[in-house]
């Protein structure tokens, strides 16, 4: 079986995606669990001309930096489709085909890996950041 890896947007037009990475888990208040769309997680700021960033999630403020990935990544989308012609030719094998489409690439991430500081005052958060118990 062969699965083709395609890039339907074309190699030159393939867009760059981004990653924000935290050592921790973001928790949403129970009443908002089912309406996440457009819900703000937090505010990310770049205070100076350096590649340092702060990320404020609920009561916590994280500090981090933008880093180039050691190895680039691509974002692949699995596409399943029914191939009617194949269905007729290969009666015994599966009639659905899978393709992988490269929808983007990633070269940078904004990484937050230090313990957050707690802000003393601020609005009631609908989203808050929780430090992983194992401190990954």
């Amino acid at each position: 079986m062969q699965i083709q890896v395609k890039c339907s947007c074309g190699a030159e037009k393939c867009p760059e995606w981004a990653i924000i990475e935290l050592q921790g888990v973001v928790e949403v208040q129970p009443s908002f669990q089912h309406s996440l769309q457009n819900l703000q997680i937090g505010l990310l700021c770049r205070p100076s001309s350096q590649e340092n960033y702060t990320f404020t999630v609920g009561y916590h403020e994280l500090t981090g930096y933008k880093v180039a990935l050691k190895k680039p990544m691509v974002v692949l989308k699995k596409i399943k489709y029914m191939d009617v012609e194949r269905q007729i030719d290969e009666a015994t094998s599966s009639s659905s085909c899978v393709e992988l489409d490269v929808v983007g690439f990633i070269r940078h991430k904004i990484l937050f890996k230090t313990r957050p500081t707690t802000l003393i005052s601020g609005p009631q958060p609908t989203v808050k950041e929780k430090i992983n118990a194992e401190g990954a």
Partner: protein
């Protein structure tokens, strides 16, 4: 800062180009969800253009681990999880299959939306091509002299082999070459050894009859004579390819030189097919079969035969490196079953062809064998770990 909403105040572009003293609101994307159909694949820089320019495929059967193949290399695809939260942010114009809704957020505020929290990413590990399967499927139906009656069961064209064997195109071609496979009527076949023996002997017989030099066999003459003896043209060419090489310097092309090693190995295997033989008996028969023009020497049989002393007698038996597994662990396991202890000079021909990306032969020995030295001036000996 932005007077009207446009794509650069949203999405990944916004985030990656965030200016000093600016901020961006990180939100859940309107279509935030598990999106199991979106996966991250980490790869070496040098593979990036192969992927973007559609030069890679995934190969394998549903019950096998997936491998990713470029034109010339094979990589195992592995998932590596993370306990971190990896927020994946697409470019501003990314949309999923649902087209409705989602545009109800304030476009004046710079935002970057998270489409998914990735549980980890796939990564690639370069591996040797899985060619053992190639040999076994092509051996199901050896091409023999009574082809008409035996050509049933599965035969494989190039595209069938691609679907079944986890190897890149180049590695598959090399594998077919190593097996001395030949393409007949579009199907890749391994020719039965006995049939190859018949063709080779006929070629040698005719060389003597017609006074042909084995160093400069004229292709056209050889093919026409053997064809009139009843052999298919394709197989005569195949015989020349298997036992000889083209003489590049020949003026009018189509001149071949028989390879001493390949011819000698062929006859040795024939003699030992029925079992081991005493050295004297083997040598006597072997030297008799080898054509006069070829200078035989026992060294030519390295990697093909093993000698062992039983009492006062020395015996010879066949063990061809081409019959052994291609994966190191299995290879060493069989070698140590054949013989418990090996000296380097005997072992080397049997592991010379092992291909493990990133492991030298010293490293292979360290990993799979135990080295011992009976005394300071004795040869080191290798045995199973």
């Amino acid at each position: 800062m932005m007077e009207q909403p446009h794509s650069c105040c949203k999405g990944a572009e916004m985030l990656l180009n965030l200016q000093p003293t600016s901020s961006v609101s990180i939100q859940y994307h309107p279509f935030f969800g598990p999106h199991d159909d979106l996966v991250l694949l980490e790869l070496d820089e040098k593979l990036l253009s192969d992927v973007l320019y559609q030069r890679v495929t995934l190969r394998g059967q549903p019950d096998e681990d997936a491998v990713l193949c470029t034109k010339s290399k094979t990589y195992l695809v592995k998932f590596v999880g993370t306990s971190n939260s990896v927020f994946l942010i697409p470019p501003a114009d990314y949309s999923t299959s649902h087209e409705s809704g989602g545009e109800n957020y304030n476009q004046q505020v710079p935002t970057a939306s998270v489409i998914k929290v990735a549980p980890g990413n796939m990564e690639l590990v370069e591996v040797a091509p899985r060619l053992d399967k190639l040999k076994s499927i092509l051996s199901e139906n050896l091409y023999s002299s009574d082809e008409a009656s035996t050509a049933m069961g599965d035969l494989y064209k190039w595209d069938d082999l691609i679907n079944k064997v986890q190897a890149s195109d180049d590695e598959l071609k090399a594998g077919l070459q190593a097996l001395s496979a030949v393409e007949i009527d579009g199907y890749w076949r391994i020719v039965d050894e006995k049939y190859m023996d018949v063709i080779l002997r006929m070629l040698l017989h005719n060389s003597v009859l017609n006074d042909w030099s084995l160093d400069s066999l004229v292709e056209d003459k050889v093919v026409s004579v053997l064809e009139s003896d009843g052999f298919p043209r394709k197989l005569v060419y195949h015989c020349l390819n298997v036992y000889g090489s083209r003489v590049e310097e020949a003026m009018d092309g189509g001149v071949w030189r028989l390879d001493a090693r390949r011819v000698c190995v062929h006859f040795a295997r024939g003699i030992l097919r029925e079992g081991k033989r005493k050295m004297e008996s083997f040598m006597e028969e072997w030297l008799r079969m080898i054509p006069e023009e070829i200078q035989p020497s026992f060294d030519l049989l390295e990697g093909e035969v093993l000698t062992e002393k039983l009492g006062v007698e020395t015996w010879v038996r066949a063990l061809s490196v081409s019959s052994l597994p291609t994966t190191p662990a299995d290879r060493f396991s069989i070698l140590f079953k054949e013989r418990a202890k090996w000296e380097w000079k005997d072992l080397e021909p049997y592991i010379r062809d092992l291909n493990v990306p990133g492991l030298s032969s010293e490293a292979l020995l360290l990993k799979y064998t135990r080295r011992s030295q009976p005394s300071i001036d004795a040869e080191p000996v290798f045995s199973a770990r």
